[in-house]
């Protein structure tokens, strides 16, 4: 077995962090090698070293058996390594051709001597791109503008971009994070095809289902170390999860039967537009009752964001009615809605959930700082705020150096715990949680899931909006699937399967 790539003893230190600690990793020719681990486990650092974005402090890299040094991304490309980044590295106003040839331009014959002032040859490039897309089954239109393409197509552009540079080793960094289950399956077919034609693939993910679906070999990283390696046939979800976290993890949330009470949130024919006046929520009606979790599934960008914003008073309602406990709140302000005992865990925790430069303490009272007991008239009582903050930091296990630390310097999981503590510690009747565990590590996810179920068991109505189908399936009592601004169907969680939800998420109603 020839090794396409071998890294041994890779160590990388960042100020205060040992990101990679004596990591060994290898990749055989034509192999799909999954790299599994939580956020912060050091996967990204490792592949960024392989792609030349970082230089290792110690360790060697060999490509095709030859020891080498990858000095820069340019160097990596020259040595046949291509990378598809988690956040696409595409320029939206440029066409597919322009994005693919950028930095590796083909120019009209006879003008080469002008270097970067020579004439671009878009036609030859487009032909080459078409040939590549046929060879590997990556359907793309070279003349389309990237900004007009759906994410699945953008990802194909990224892969073709690497292939165009004659990459033999492909690094895919969390490629499925933005895809529907069906699109992810399509991607796996493409990956298989690439591997069969001799490409070697490093596939980074934190989703266990996916490594079983596509990987030839699985390596698990934790806290900067390589903690184990296995063939999919010899591993189980539980064993891999335990390796990732370093202890046994409860993958299945244990929750009691729901006892739905009176409707808390009632939405009738709600329509909402986005900033560009496109209808994003289109005549949606549903109810959430006390003591139940209604999960809203759907691929991102199908109106979930606007729905949550409308429900929390952050976006104007174009049409329809929202009532909470029989009070009309269609045009209520965010504060009025908060005061109606509504908790909101926003989708973008850094932009809308926290004031990043404020201390943890202040962020914990953002909903109530203006009222007794925290304020008397115009004066704020910091000692009371500190008491509450100390309580909440303890109860919600927020790992912070102190309550005066700026919340922006905490890890993602701890930032989210601050939000959850602030929102769920109040006596709430309705919880609106958008993507509550996006980008978090398994431990924090487990914690936040338990808190959401607890809120339900205390009698709150919970609206859970998530693009992670697994999260929806494991937490919800009922599941509504959104597609292009409409709720296509609402299923009972007991009868809902991943297949049915996946079909609905792709807009297929017949199943």
């Amino acid at each position: 077995m020839t090794l396409a790539l071998q890294a041994s003893g890779i160590t990388k230190r960042f100020p205060g962090v040992l990101a990679n600690d004596q990591v060994d990793f290898d990749l055989a020719k034509g192999e799909i090698h999954a790299l599994l681990g939580e956020n912060g486990a050091g996967k990204s650092t490792l592949v960024n070293i392989l792609y030349g974005l970082y230089q290792p402090d110690e360790g060697q890299v060999a490509i095709n058996g030859q020891p080498t040094r990858v000095a820069s991304p340019h160097d990596a490309i020259a040595q046949g390594i291509g990378m598809v980044h988690q956040h696409f590295m595409l320029v939206p106003p440029l066409t597919v051709v322009e994005n693919i040839i950028l930095g590796y331009e083909s120019v009209t014959r006879g003008t080469k001597m002008f270097g970067q002032m020579s004439v671009l040859d878009r036609r030859t490039a487009a032909q080459h791109i078409r040939a590549l897309s046929q060879q590997y089954g990556l359907e793309i239109d070279p003349d389309a503008y990237v900004r007009d393409l759906p994410v699945g197509a953008q990802q194909r552009v990224e892969i073709v971009k690497a292939l165009y540079r004659q990459a033999d080793i492909l690094i895919l960094d969390e490629p499925t994070a933005v895809l529907t289950p069906q699109e992810a399956d399509d991607l796996f077919v493409i990956m298989r095809g690439l591997a069969q034609q001799g490409k070697s693939i490093i596939f980074i993910t934190h989703k266990l289902r996916e490594v079983f679906a596509v990987a030839d070999r699985i390596s698990v990283m934790r806290a900067g170390r390589m903690v184990g390696s296995a063939k999919p046939a010899d591993a189980t979800s539980e064993s891999l999860a335990a390796m990732m976290v370093g202890r046994d993890v409860i993958l299945q949330i244990d929750k009691a039967e729901a006892h739905p009470g009176q409707p808390v949130l009632r939405v009738e024919n709600l329509s909402v537009m986005d900033d560009r006046h496109h209808v994003m929520v289109n005549g949606v009606s549903f109810e959430v009752c006390a003591g139940e979790i209604l999960g809203v599934a759907g691929v991102q960008g199908n109106g979930q964001t606007e729905l949550a914003e409308a429900l929390t008073g952050l976006r104007r309602v174009a049409d329809g009615k929202i009532s909470i406990l029989d009070h009309d709140v269609t045009h209520a302000t965010p504060r009025q809605i908060t005061e109606a005992s509504v908790a909101h865990v926003p989708e973008d925790r850094q932009k809308h959930g926290l004031v990043l430069t404020f201390p943890v303490r202040d962020n914990l009272v953002l909903c109530s700082y203006y009222r007794t007991p925290y304020a008397h008239g115009v004066e704020i009582d910091y000692s009371r705020i500190e008491q509450t903050a100390a309580d909440l930091i303890h109860t919600f296990d927020v790992r912070t150096p102190g309550m005066a630390t700026a919340v922006g310097s905490l890890s993602g999981g701890n930032q989210q715990k601050v939000i959850v503590a602030r929102e769920l510690a109040r006596p709430v009747k309705l919880v609106i949680a958008s993507q509550p565990t996006r980008g978090l590590d398994v431990g924090s996810i487990e914690f936040i899931h338990q808190r959401i179920v607890q809120a339900r068991d205390r009698g709150a109505a919970v609206l859970l909006i998530s693009a992670e189908l697994d999260e929806i399936l494991s937490l919800s009592d009922r599941i509504a699937v959104m597609y292009k601004g409409r709720i296509l169907d609402t299923l009972d969680a007991k009868s809902a399967t991943r297949q049915i939800c996946g079909m609905l998420m792709a807009g297929v109603v017949q199943y």
Partner: protein, 367 residues
Amino acid sequence: MSTTTARSIVKDIQVSGLRGRWWVTALFGVLLLVAVWMLLNLVIGGKCGADCVQGTLAQTLRVATPIAFAAFCGVLCERAGVVNIGIEGQMLMAAMAGYAVNLFAFQALKDSIGIEAAGNLSRWLAVLAGILSALILAALHAVVSIEFKTNQIISGTVINILSVGITGFLYRQFLAENLPPGPGTFPIAPIPVLSQIPVIGPILFQQKPLTYLMLILAFAIHYVLYYTPWGLRTRAVGEHPRAADTLGINVYRIRYINVLVGGLVAGLGGAWFTLEAVDVFNPLMTNGLGFIGLAAMIFGKWNPFGALLGALIFGLGNSITSTVSIFRPDIPSQLPQMLPYLLTIIVLTGVVGRATPPAADGEPYEK
């Protein structure tokens, strides 16, 4: 074959930002010009006949020249993601450097090579001096805003203030009085054959050299931006520098070179004031045209031809102003003189629709 050609032409137009039915725009433009002409005649009592129209349009192109140079400088910088509001200062510096070099080089040369040759040589040396002086300020802006990642608005403002101070000081020290006679501005250089074409000839081809250079630059920048690897990289760097970086493109190098070349172009714009327009240097003589150039750039949606069109509209406002003041001296000259600035405000409040700048415009790139 013809359909593919037609399609590629349409594509070209779309790439250059003039989306949609361009001929409708052209027709609309012509009608607007006629309306402006009729309105003008209404004000000055029907005295604007064929000669006056021709003169006004030729004047339009003349006045549009520095505005267009400023706008091109803006296009080059901002397409690479660097906001440059120091163009005004760069032009002012170039205007002074050009004027001084023109004067003193002529004095040094006239005895050895004759008055005629000395005039020609010193004018071009003056253009070179203007370019170099603007280049130095552009280099300052580049180092401060690309290398040290300072706020680009502040850096540009500093350049403007610095340049007002330096030129004001040097003017009072050396250029205010007791000046020897200079060679004057560039003479009109009619282009053979083309200048004989009726109507168009006198407007387009009986101009001074920098004006021709400006028109050539519009094509050159369009070509570079949309047809060369350099242009592709520039646009990518202005929109998404990290994406360019991951493909092995040196973001800093692209930005440096674009800002410096922008400085050259702004220098040409500055040279226009003292080498084409008038044979004197006054403090503050650029009079905000650098900023109007930025407005023209926005009007043109960061495309060179769009920017040229914007500059021409401001130029038209300006030349109508002078036509009015010739025929109607009773109208206070300040009133028509407001026109270009009013146009700026109207243009910037969205007559052109929402103009979206390059996504990374004004943001220093952190590796």
